[in-house]
């Protein structure tokens, strides 16, 4: 196994709200190997985006540790952070609102290059062209504004901008969920190609399990701020152990019309992450709930590299 590029230990991110403390990310630990892709799945509001953003210091963490190439980067000063952001980038979900509407394609991609002060005037132009080429944006679109482009092209610009300074780690926050399926496949292929070419480590945050299975080496399943199960992509889909993961996997509409797979339909809704009670947060919707579920849960290794946070995992 390759050495981890980034590792989080007991990471916590709480937000203060008028109703109390919102536990967006609660005690999450995992690591991502260099050049690998980690998929983070969960439903809206489970804290998956907050996790990604906290890891690259867009949010200040409340507790726990973040290690980047073995170095503790949990608390860093501004100057250091500036350097870190060149190595860690984010691709946003919504290509419609994440680009400056008053900057042309070329300006948008050139901006991070200028800010890095690594390039002379001529090199800057060459580099901009190289990136546009790399993410597949036509030369003729260089003076276009975001509103003139469709979603797929806009997302390509977002990707180009994130890749501009050759980062080592990119958090992709639902990069394809706003796109049509045919365009979605183009963007997924592009991300895979670029990862192979440059050996970038990706963290892929999404609610779409088919996408995550397709692109990830390892997967974390989150529920209300907690990590409930993590395993390699293959293991997780072949043998889901946590009741939530099981339900999640059967809930995906399959295009196989002859499949006779029994679906598990969950009852109830996600409860509020504000001032949650100790214990398993899935307990309210889980069919296996018992007394023990209301005590704090721990991640247990059920098979090599497959961790589950459920006290009844051996019984079910």
């Amino acid at each position: 196994m390759s050495a981890p590029l980034i590792e989080v230990k007991n990471l916590k991110k709480y937000f203060d709200t008028p109703k109390g403390t919102l536990h967006a990310v609660d005690d999450v630990s995992f690591s991502i190997g260099t050049g690998k892709t980690m998929g983070v799945v969960g439903e809206s509001g489970c804290g998956k985006s907050t996790l990604g953003r906290t890891m690259i210091h867009l949010y200040e963490s409340t507790g726990g540790q973040i290690l980047f190439e073995g170095e503790d980067i949990t608390h860093v000063n501004r100057k250091k952070m500036h350097g870190l952001h060149e190595q860690m980038q984010l691709i946003f979900q919504d290509p419609f609102s994440s680009l400056n509407p008053r900057m042309t394609v070329e300006e948008t991609i050139r901006e991070p290059l200028e800010l890095s002060r690594r390039f002379g005037k001529k090199a800057l132009q060459e580099e901009t062209e190289r990136i546009m080429n790399m993410v597949g944006i036509d030369e003729r679109l260089r003076h276009s504004y975001p509103h003139e482009l469709d979603g797929g092209r806009r997302q390509r610009i977002g990707i180009g901008r994130a890749l501009a300074l050759n980062p080592k780690f990119i958090v992709c926050d639902e990069p394809v969920s706003a796109l049509d399926v045919s365009i979605q496949a183009q963007v997924l292929n592009l991300l895979q190609d670029l990862q192979q070419e440059f050996g970038i480590t990706l963290m892929f945050v999404t609610h779409d399990l088919s996408v995550v299975k397709h692109i990830s080496d390892n997967i974390c399943v989150m529920y209300l701020g907690q990590l409930v199960e993590t395993a390699s992509s293959k293991d997780l889909f072949a043998d889901p152990r946590h009741p939530y993961t099981k339900a999640l996997l059967t809930a995906i509409p399959s295009i196989d019309i002859h499949s006779t797979k029994e679906r598990i339909i969950l009852k109830g809704e996600i409860v509020s992450p504000i001032e949650p009670k100790p214990g398993c947060r899935f307990a309210a919707r889980c069919e296996y709930t018992c007394e023990k579920c209301h005590q704090p849960q721990e991640l247990k290794e059920v098979s090599p590299n497959h961790f589950v946070s459920c006290c009844r995992v051996d019984e079910i």
């Binding site: 292929n189 889909f237 399959s254 196989d256």
Partner: protein
């Protein structure tokens, strides 16, 4: 063929053509679309953003914004009666009673300053000519049917989560036992586990009430789970139509094949997706001949010579491609 013996289909859309006018340009949203639905059946309309799916649904309900939209041609027959010829008053009696709709976004489909129970009751009282009290009773029953406790009758939309709001919208749509339900991406805004719940509710209620349904979606997985027949829409045209089995076992139009290739399949191990190249065409400037030809791997010069017709390729299965059946 004797016209008398032929059964009138429950709902039939014939040669529907709709265009929008925008900044002096004509946008061809729906180009000659025809289909039929029988009672208790579900037709899936599948296609990408801008393919014209929603415009078709809105024309059936006659809620297109006119202008800019304009229905140029076609008939929409409900048990043989053409809805496009009805007066506004007559149409208002049909909307919400015989035909109702579930919109994509439950956050905007509800009135934020009206209690959700009252929003359901309003339609019942209006269409079923019952007293306010009777209406409220029915509204409460509808709420329970979609899994919301009747005690929440007096709450406002902001007090509900997205999934519950969508269930309120479903309760509202089904309150008057409609004959035809138009579901326009009813679960796109929801999470997968909630989506499974909502689809389950729709399917069960449909079975119970024998409602005909048009399910508009871009998710082939939902089509596989819910629909009986499928129409694939591209650039305002049906490019392939057939029963679910015909369509999923033998996708025939290159666009349909492309759609399947673009999907990461949860049950298969594919290392690389095979996307459709290029972008959907500009609807104000559609390519001549086959509108998919600029993106099609099988396109030849013949494809752009003349307009391609839907041809029957066995059973109820039709496909709009001149290359169908020829070797690649």
């Amino acid at each position: 063929m004797s016209e008398v013996n032929k059964k009138t289909p429950f709902v039939e859309v014939k040669n529907l053509v709709v265009h929008y006018t925008s900044e002096g340009r004509e946008i061809h949203a729906v180009n000659d679309v025809s289909f039929k639905i029988e009672k208790g059946e579900t037709l899936g309309l599948v296609g990408e953003t801008g393919a014209g799916k929603t415009t078709i649904a809105r024309s059936i309900l006659r809620i297109l914004p006119e202008p800019p939209a304009h229905v140029d041609n076609g008939e929409i027959l409900l048990e043989g009666k053409n809805l496009l010829e009805l007066s506004n008053d007559e149409m208002r009696k049909i909307r919400g009673k015989r035909i109702s709709v579930i919109f994509q976004d439950p956050m905007t489909a509800l009135n934020p300053v009206m209690r959700i129970g009252d929003q359901i009751t309003e339609g019942i009282v209006l269409h079923e000519k019952v007293s306010q009290r009777k209406g409220e009773e029915k509204a409460k029953r509808m709420l329970e049917m979609v899994g919301i406790p009747a005690s929440r009758y007096g709450e406002y939309p902001h007090q509900f989560s997205g999934g519950m709001k969508q269930r309120v919208v479903i309760a509202m749509a089904l309150a008057c036992n409609p004959d035809l339900l138009l579901a326009d991406e009813p679960t796109t805004a929801l999470d997968v586990t909630i989506q499974a719940q909502v689809l389950d509710i729709i399917k069960n209620l449909q079975k119970e009430l024998q409602t005909a349904m048009v399910m508009i979606t871009h998710d082939l997985g939902i089509v596989a789970g819910v629909c009986d027949n499928v129409a694939v829409v591209y650039a305002g045209e049906i490019v392939e139509y057939g029963s679910k089995e015909e369509m999923f076992d033998h996708p025939s139009h290159p666009y349909t094949i492309g759609l399947f290739g673009s999907l990461p399949d949860i049950n298969a191990d594919v290392t690389r997706l095979s996307p459709i190249c290029g972008m959907p065409p500009d609807p104000s400037n559609l390519p001549f001949g086959c509108s998919f030809s600029p993106r099609c791997p099988r396109a030849t010069a013949e494809c752009t010579k003349e307009h391609v017709k839907l041809t029957n390729i066995g059973g109820t299965h039709t496909c709009r491609c001149i290359h169908y059946g020829k070797e690649v």
